[in-house]
């Protein structure tokens, strides 16, 4: 296999890893917007992702940086063409990250309410924007011979962008629900399981539509086989969720994502960013890639680094493997200035 192909696979794997791990983080954030008003339940949901969300986000950083390193022309064209949506993604990711850390550090309900909104909307904006970006890199953007977007600041705003955005939002909601079913106990667990059973057929429709559109355009026998695997996985996941087997439900939904997203990446290969103006302007793994030497160096680094990541990130999930219940949460800590209470004499 040549190096650009290997790197195409690596970047697909990084994006899939990102959606697989951060999918439930973003979904939990969105669920905070509507699934419960009780603060302890919110905290329970948040703490289910507490120890792991920041590590999961690194998959995005690494996917972006690896794209820059391995396919600089892809990185430059995609990111500049999607200037406005990526700005929204950045602002969303910033609010989400800060909200997770800061929401519990205030002492008023108002403080928590606003940071919860920031967390929820930040998660929604990130999921939607990243979904739109991924969909557009598989369906195409109006880029010219130099790889620059033509048609103005909103040339990216197409039905595909909306479909991709909804796809990741819907997937994240379902994925977060199977995750909460697996990692929490009490009402949150029951509600999460019910959500999967009732809503996943609707919430997963956009991602299925995206998969099918790509397949009808570019599908091959292998990619259609992946679609079949994805369908089996999602049906299995749904049946498991209904039967209350949360572990298997999680496995099913995760396998659905891996197979479905793989079918997309495999179908568009070797094009990384189609031009909707002229196929001659398509960015492909050959005209967008870095030189052999750079790809070789990066391959060595990745062959060393990525397995390590699997090991220690996997270990984190092992350390925090237990289900979390409300009684595990310490009381919210009110921070007060260290001065003597006004009434009391020391």
């Amino acid at each position: 296999m040549d190096l650009p192909t290997l790197w195409f696979i690596a970047i697909a794997a990084l994006w899939i890893g990102y959606l697989l791990l951060e999918g439930f983080d973003l979904g939990v954030g969105m669920l905070l917007l509507f699934s419960t008003r009780k603060d302890r339940e919110r905290r329970l949901m948040l703490n289910a992702i507490g120890p792991v969300w920041d590590g999961n986000e690194v998959w995005l950083i690494t996917a972006g940086a690896a794209t820059f390193a391995a396919f600089p022309f892809w990185y430059a064209s995609l990111f500049s063409a999607l200037y406005i949506p990526l700005t929204i993604v950045l602002v969303s990711l910033i609010f989400r990250a800060v909200a997770i850390e800061y929401r519990g550090k205030g002492s008023t309900d108002k403080w928590r309410m606003w940071w919860d909104r920031a967390l929820g909307l930040g998660s929604l904006g990130s999921a939607f924007g990243i979904g739109a970006a991924l969909a557009l890199t598989t369906t195409g953007l109006p880029i010219d011979a130099n790889g620059d977007r033509v048609g103005g600041a909103f040339a990216w705003f197409t039905p595909y962008a909306v479909l991709g955005g909804l796809a990741v939002v819907g997937f994240a909601l379902v994925h977060a629900s199977v995750f909460l079913g697996l990692k929490t106990d009490g009402d949150v667990r029951v509600r999460a399981r019910n959500f999967v059973v009732r809503w996943s057929p609707v919430a997963l429709l956009p991602i299925v539509a995206w998969v099918l559109i790509i397949q009808f355009q570019n599908g091959t026998l292998i990619t259609w086989l992946l679609v079949v695997v994805a369908v089996i996985a999602v049906v299995f996941g749904w049946i498991s969720a209904r039967a209350g087997r949360e572990g298997w439900a999680f496995v099913g939904i995760a396998a659905f994502l891996v197979a479905g997203a793989s079918s997309i990446f495999a179908a568009v290969y070797p094009v990384v960013l189609p031009s909707t103006i002229d196929p001659a302007f398509n960015l492909t793994i050959s005209n967008a890639a870095s030189g052999e030497y750079t790809l070789g160096v990066m391959s060595v680094v990745t062959a060393f680094g990525l397995p390590l990541v699997f090991i220690y990130q996997g270990w984190t999930y092992w350390v925090f493997r237990n289900r979390l219940s409300e009684h595990h949460l310490p009381e919210a800590h009110i921070v007060k200035p260290a001065v003597a209470p006004a009434s009391s004499a020391s």
């Binding site: 920041d54 972006g64 820059f68 990185y75 064209s77 500049s80 406005i84 870095s290 595990h328």
Partner: protein
């Protein structure tokens, strides 16, 4: 609207902002890890309290660094796509290595540290913090490798008009990177240490104001306690006096290291970017004197009217070459050399937009380079001086009751931040008009350089960049308010703000059957969001 100027402002604002959080993360991390190490080694509770308190502030700040760092990585592609295409073959690699070999360690292990209290064995828990801290320092290394390649490109060949990497080892061991890395890390340690000094001073001062600690006739501290205030027991005093001494010593050592690494870097810069250094001096003519104060129109196209008020003869030569009489070339000597090597006008290429064919102004903004350089050194010396003074003042175990001195101590926290910002603004503005500065030394490759004017995204409009600049600036200003608010709140709470158990020592007489109360079972998390 001109996308270039707005994109430059955006890069400057977002980067300077990001680099307020980063040095505090880099500098405070090792200090917290040292404190926890002492706790694991000695079992003395004061070290645990120090770890918890400083660790809490570390985390409040850390998250802002993480969040604003995302912008850094995205905006190369978003606003500087032509730059990304030109340098991608060599510049992307250190960024990807940063993700794979540093950010993952940092984020995953910090998550383990935050939630691992009393769940992981003590030593393993300590190790998670050290690994996270090491991750942050490794990430600083890779990002500085990337930046240093822009300052001084090495390890590439020019193929089809683009630099293509041929030697990763040369890129990673670029002497510019090694000196800038050591200078940046020592600068960050000075920031972390200054932060610890200022806040510890405030705590000691508060204990005196509240009459908890007093001094005897010789001025030596008499430690007291006030159990009605959470955390203000006798041990609390040792937390702060130890912290302030550690902070002051590290700050002084850090400043020593900063002068050495800064000197190394300056010597390299005189060789690699002579015009930057001449602009830092606002020196038109060749000479040997270092200007302490110059007046006149520093930004003028010719610097004939700049008048040196205070100059130290020979010092500039010493900074550049280690002797007192080698002439250092001034701006008027250097500009013709640059014009000869890199042209007098920008190429007639559509990449340059309206600027195609314009005359190139090789002189960086001299107000910025001149004052950036001096503010960096000035703030650094101020911080170091204050740290030395602090060490002497606290020799008898506490700080004076003076509110003015306490205020000065808190303000002094800002000095190392100021030095860091001034230094980076100087070095980044000083390389203009280049985004990738040509390498004039013997290892340099002909043709590997890029003018900033060619780097901006051709397809992106000025309006789009205004939108992102406005959005990010608003969000950043808003979040700065909340970060400072939280830091102040946690500082005012003392150790008890990071250790709730100090608030109610002999818990607690409440109804054990209260269903709303968390269990007293041992599986309650030591920390949760």
């Amino acid at each position: 609207m001109d996308p270039l100027e707005i994109a430059r402002w955006q890069f400057g604002i977002t980067t300077v902002y990001h680099f307020i959080m980063v040095p505090l993360t880099l500098g405070l991390g090792p200090i917290v890890a040292l404190m926890q190490t002492q706790w694991v080694r000695t079992g003395d509770e004061k070290w645990l309290r120090m770890t918890k308190f400083w660790g809490k502030l570390y985390l409040i700040n850390f998250i802002m660094g993480v969040a604003t760092g995302l912008v850094q990585e995205f905006q190369f592609g978003m606003a500087w796509s032509e730059y990304s295409r030109y340098v991608g073959d060599v510049f992307g690699a250190p960024l990807a290595m940063e993700g794979l070999l540093a950010f993952f360690f940092e984020s995953v292990f910090l998550g383990l540290w935050i939630f691992g209290w009393s769940r992981l064995p003590k030593k393993l828990h300590l190790a998670t913090l050290w690994i996270a801290v090491a991750g942050s320092i490794v990430s600083a290394f890779f990002i500085i490798v990337a930046n240093s390649w822009m300052q001084h490109p090495v390890g590439v060949e020019l193929i089809d008009g683009r630099p293509v990497m041929t030697d990763i080892w040369a890129v990673l061991t670029n002497n510019t990177a090694l000196s800038a890395f050591s200078h940046t890390v020592t600068g960050a340690i000075a920031v972390g240490a200054g932060f610890v000094v200022g806040i510890s001073w405030y705590q000691l001062w508060q204990r005196r104001r509240d009459g908890i600690d007093t001094v005897d006739a010789t001025g030596r501290v008499v430690v007291g306690e006030n159990l009605s205030i959470p955390g203000r027991d006798r041990k609390d005093h040792s937390v702060w006096i130890k912290s302030i001494r550690i902070g002051a010593v590290i700050a002084i050592l850090g400043f020593g290291a900063l002068s050495i690494t800064g000197d190394l870097q300056a010597k390299l810069m005189f060789e690699q970017q002579p015009l930057k250094m001449a602009a830092a001096e606002a020196a038109c003519h060749d000479g040997t004197s270092f200007s302490v104060l110059s007046i006149g129109p520093l930004g003028g196209q010719d610097c004939e009217d700049v008048v040196g008020i205070i100059e130290i003869p020979g010092l500039l030569s010493f900074l550049a070459h280690g002797d007192f009489d080698t002439e250092i070339q001034g701006v008027n000597t250097l500009i013709p050399q640059y014009q000869e090597l890199y042209g007098t006008n920008l190429p007639d290429d559509p990449l340059y937009g309206e600027r195609a064919g314009q005359e190139i102004d090789y002189l960086p903004l001299m107000e910025v380079t001149y004052w950036g350089f001096r503010l960096m050194i000035g703030f650094g010396m101020l911080a170091a001086g204050f740290a030395a003074l602090t060490l002497w003042i606290v020799r008898k175990g506490t700080v004076p009751q003076s509110k003015f001195l306490m205020g000065t101590a808190l303000l002094s926290i800002a000095a190392p931040f100021g030095a860091n910002i001034a230094g980076w603004v100087f070095t980044e503005m000083g390389r203009q008009p280049f985004v990738v500065v040509p390498n004039p030394t013997p290892g340099g490759i002909d043709g590997v350089y890029m003018f900033t004017a060619a780097a901006v995204s051709p397809g992106v409009s000025g309006e789009e960049i205004i939108f992102s600049l406005a959005a990010l600036a608003l969000v950043y200003a808003f979040l700065m308010v909340f970060e400072i608010k939280l830091l102040v709140k946690y500082v005012r709470g003392g150790v008890a703000s990071a250790m709730p158990e100090l608030g109610h020592p002999e818990d607690d007489g409440s109804d054990p059957d209260d269903p709303n109360k968390p269990d007293k079972r041992d599986d309650v998390l030591a920390f949760a969001y």
